[in-house]
């Protein structure tokens, strides 16, 4: 087994699995699940194996499109520690979630559809991770969007799910619009698509015109905005919670949405050359991080709370990209976040199963005795998310905040505040779901989930807790603290954490309904409504106007009027033919006169 062949196996085994499931999956549930899990596990094992191998130096690619020397688009893999870490994260979590799904989807229909979709997703995600050039990444970028579309739309009979899947794909396409343009810009200037060449020799080209580079980078960043649900394109992520919970946990928390950050990390050197682009990225990330946290504080749907926290955490990562000196900083948070956010979602899934697919936290309560194990796992995840010391999230998040405070003080302190909010809404959710008293029969008769779902929880709880510890972390990353972080920062973070936890705990421990009500947050700052209005009125209205114009202006002018004129002309000319000989003789004479005039006097 060579490090040359391994990546290809990792990449394509899920595709094979997906194809096979597509054809034979409908005949046997175990077969579908088994194939999917096997392919993921194989990838997982190989990834871990490769993780401890030295990076291969020689390029590992074959041509996909080659037109003379005008354009070369290869399909190839890069193996560096960035991609290796990501491989490990993706395949491991995927394996766990696949396993979990067996239990979660037991009673659902479209079993084979679901696992085919998951495998297809894994394939596309690994493609993004391994891509060694922009275009290959774009290809898998789109495919990830497709698999997300399929999986969100799993319950296609529900209008909500159908709309959510459509919205997710389209919003991502909007992001990809910028992404592809950015690729075009970079390629047009440098003539190459390979990350290697771009990040090394390519940058030199732009010394002449930095504006161009800035525009290009911002355009590329649009891809991240779409895929990683940054503002203003974040709306699709909460809606995507219509999909099955494991999907939310794998795609919309742990891996897919992190792809945007991963892509930025890939092209980090280019971004560094474009400081203004970095400013844009920082602002987007910081604002997203804060606003999403605000929205999270007022949601009632357990999955939506987590979705907004995901957006917020992604905001952290993007901010980290913009502010840190090395991509390892945000990647570290990506890593820990993948663990605990996935854990949280799987716990939520287990709760939801226990609650017979009831997702409103105000119908739950007092579940800690009914589902102790889930409770435990979720607490671990929650503490990690809210940055409790010694938990993984604590290390990675504080690191980013440190860098941010140094480079962008305003955004930095905003993210500090966000940390407090995070603690608040996390504990709010935990308290309402697990403490207090049952508010619903389902809550009364809830039971712990089956083992096949609990094992993944256990497997994830461990890293969520410990992944941040320095001696583990430096196996994966080489990171340093931001220089000159104000010493006051860490105490402040601790205080904020304590305040958030306490306030939430006491506010919500026994609350029957939300004691605080801020419609502005509850309604997601009205951004969704704004978009709906725009789509309905501006786009829809404009489109209908155009279509009216097509029918009554273009068609009328180009087709109807001329043809009618011709017909009418004929109709009129007929009436010269009045049948009277002398009239004819008269016309005849007139014709003679006219002809003679032409001949003689012209």
């Amino acid at each position: 087994m060579s490090t040359l062949a391994a990546p290809w196996i990792i990449l394509f085994s899920p595709l094979v699995a997906a194809a096979v499931i597509l054809f034979v999956g409908r005949f046997s549930k175990p077969l579908s699940a088994g194939l999917a899990i096997a392919s993921a596990a194989l990838g997982c094992v190989l990834s871990w194996w490769m993780f401890f191998q030295p990076d291969p130096t020689e390029p590992n690619q074959f041509p996909w499109i080659e037109i003379g020397d005008a354009l070369r688009i290869p399909i190839g893999v890069t193996i560096d520690h960035l991609s290796k870490v990501m491989l490990v994260v993706v395949t491991t979590i995927a394996t766990l979630v696949f396993t979990y799904s067996v239990g979660y989807m037991k009673t659902e229909e479209g079993y084979w559809r679901y696992f085919a979709g998951l495998s297809l997703f894994l394939f596309s995600m690994l493609g993004i991770v391994l891509a060694d050039n922009f275009l290959m990444m774009f290809i898998f970028w789109e495919l990830v969007g497709l698999s997300s579309y399929i999986l969100i739309g799993h319950y296609f009979k529900k209008d909500a799910a159908a709309d959510a899947s459509k919205q997710a794909f389209i919003v991502n396409r909007v992001g990809d619009f910028g992404f592809l343009l950015g690729i075009l810009f970079l390629w047009a200037a440098t003539g190459t698509l390979m990350f290697g060449e771009l990040t090394t020799s390519g940058i030199a080209v732009f010394s002449a015109n930095p504006v161009y580079l800035t525009v290009a980078c911002v355009l590329v960043f649009c891809g991240t905005v779409g895929k990683s649900a940054q503002m203003p394109l974040h709306v699709w992520l909460p809606n995507s919670m219509e999909g099955p919970t494991p999907v939310s946990s794998l795609l919309h928390a742990a891996t897919m949405v992190a792809a945007g950050v991963y892509m930025l990390a890939r092209i980090f050197p280019i971004l560094e050359a474009a400081p203004h682009a970095l400013d844009v990225i920082a602002w987007i990330g910081g604002i997203t991080c804060f606003a999403a946290a605000l929205m999270a504080t007022q949601q009632d749907d357990i999955k939506r709370i987590l979705a907004y926290s995901t957006i917020s955490q992604l905001g952290y990562m993007v901010l980290g990209i913009a502010s840190a000196a090395t991509p390892d900083v945000p990647m570290f948070h990506l890593f820990t976040h993948a663990c605990f956010k996935c854990l949280l979602f799987l716990c939520a899934g287990s709760v939801i199963v226990g609650m017979h697919h009831e997702q409103n936290i105000w119908k739950m309560g007092a579940l800690k005795n009914k589902m102790p194990f889930t409770f435990l796992a979720m607490v671990v995840g929650g503490l990690a998310l809210s940055g409790c010391p010694l938990f993984s999230g604590y290390y990675s998040k504080d690191l980013i905040i440190g860098w941010a405070v140094v480079k962008y003080p305003l955004l930095g302190w905003l993210s500090v505040a966000t940390a407090g909010l995070t603690a608040f809404y996390t504990v709010r959710m935990l308290a309402v779901v697990f403490l207090g008293k049952p508010r619903d029969d389902h809550a009364k008769h809830a039971v712990e989930s089956p083992l096949v779902m609990l094992v993944p929880l256990a497997c994830l709880a461990l890293p969520s807790f410990a992944a941040g510890w320095p001696f583990i972390e430096d196996k994966f990353f080489h990171i340093e603290e931001a220089p000159g972080v104000p010493h006051i920062l860490h105490p402040i973070l601790l205080v904020l954490f304590a305040v958030g936890v306490m306030s939430a705990f006491f506010l919500y421990r026994n609350a029957d309904k939300d004691p605080i009500s801020i419609p502005f947050f509850a309604n997601r700052l009205y951004i969704d409504d704004l978009y709906n209005w725009i789509v309905k009125n501006i786009q829809g209205g404009g489109a209908s106007v155009l279509s009216w114009a097509d029918r009554w202006v273009v068609d009328l002018l180009i087709v109807q009027v001329p043809s009618k004129i011709a017909w009418a002309g004929g109709f009129v000319l007929r009436f010269l033919q009045i049948g009277n000989i002398q009239a004819y003789a008269f016309f005849f004479g007139a014709g003679v006169v006219g002809l003679l005039y032409l001949l003689i006097f012209r």
């Binding site: 080659e66 037109i67 296609f156 396409r173 990809d176 489109a543 279509s547 180009i558």
Partner: protein, 500 residues
Amino acid sequence: MSMVSPLLFLILVPLVAIAFILVGSNARMTALIASVVNLVFVLALFAVYKQGEAPYQFLWSLPVIPSMGIALTLGADGLSLIMLLLAALVTVAAVAVSRTPEKNANWFYASLLFISAGGIGAFASIDLFFFYMFHELALIPTFLLIGIWGSGDRQAAAWKATIYLALGSFVLLLGLIGLYLIQPEGMRTFDLRAIIGMAEAGFLPDGNWVYLLLLIGFGILVSLFPFHTWAPQAYASAPAPAAMLHAGVLKKFGLYGLIRIAAPILPESVAAFSNLLLVLLVGNILYVGYVTISQRKLDWMLGYSSVMHMGYIFLGFAALNTLSLTGASLMLFAHGLSIAALFALSGELRERTGTLDFAELGGFAKPMPAFGLLFGFAAFAAIGLPGFVGFAGELLVFFGSFIGGEPSMGSINGKEIFALNNFQIATICAVWGVVISAVYMLRAYRRVFFGPLNDRWAGLPEISGLTRGAIVTLIVVMLVTGFFPSLLINFLQSASQVWP
């Protein structure tokens, strides 16, 4: 040269089949056999075609009007072969999916084969005169197909399309005559190769007016904005097989002609009028794109979407470099297949429900999952999802057109300026078109296949048999060529030698 070209056989097969049908052999079987024979034959040609040798192979020529240098000259290079493959594939699919009408089935299939023969003949001709004449073979069959077996306001649609196309083709004829007349006296001919030779030798003085005539003529045939209004109406009313053949094969004729004739012979003129063309094609992409969004019927939506996609191909043509032209050629192939599959499926749907109004449909993925799956494949192929050949085509078009024209960035006397040239602006609009197409395609898919199922439609029969096979074939071809576009691109190299 002396031996009879296989291409002639390719053209004669449908015609002979028509003769058999008209004397009363089983129409459907005959048509099916003929089309399959042709398909096999085209594949054989791919195998026999020798890369790297003379671009045009399988040559055969029969002087028809020697005094004007008109001869029935058949020959195929890579591009022609690809188009022939497209024609053959779509013909098989069209015949396979067509429901035999209870009355005058023989005319129905004869008309289909006529359209197919016309397309094949056009793609196999090197002589511009016959290239033109073969295309016209399809005019009357389309008129009859829409008029007799069409649906909706079929008569108006048939009239509009036919008159419109007749007008366009005569404008085109003038263009070809002009192309003939600007050649130096005594050397005049309609043989494409000879004309290209003259163009390279610089014997062709400014052909701007010729190019304009060609552009308008071809443009009308390809439904270039604003000459597009005939297309959606005709496709909406046409029976599915007719729509497949016309939108899938015939409509490609115009762009194929531009790529074949204008690109190598009149590049200066193309460049001279590029701004005009860019405006029109952006009209195709954005304007028609948004019109498509607001369609309320599946067939109209598909008709408009096919018009919109022509915009990309025009962009590829306008940019006039190897990348973009290659992309345009790929898109000819890709769009032909995908739109054919989509029309076939919407026709099947019409057969089942009798309506294609989004308001009345919904939830069909439940009763007929395979149908939904196939439609999904076709739809995503149409909006250029990676993995389908359409994506490769669009990509190359974008890359080519983005570097088309003069680069307009850099620094002027120290002050660094950054501006986009028209090609880049058009490219940006085109890339936005990708979003638009996602919007309308997914909306249609969601309206038809997702959501709750109306009880009216409970227990609709699943797509089956020959139809399923035909559409699967189309999709598989799109997937294979999409995973390995170099399969097609290598063949295109023979054609790309004469491209600027």
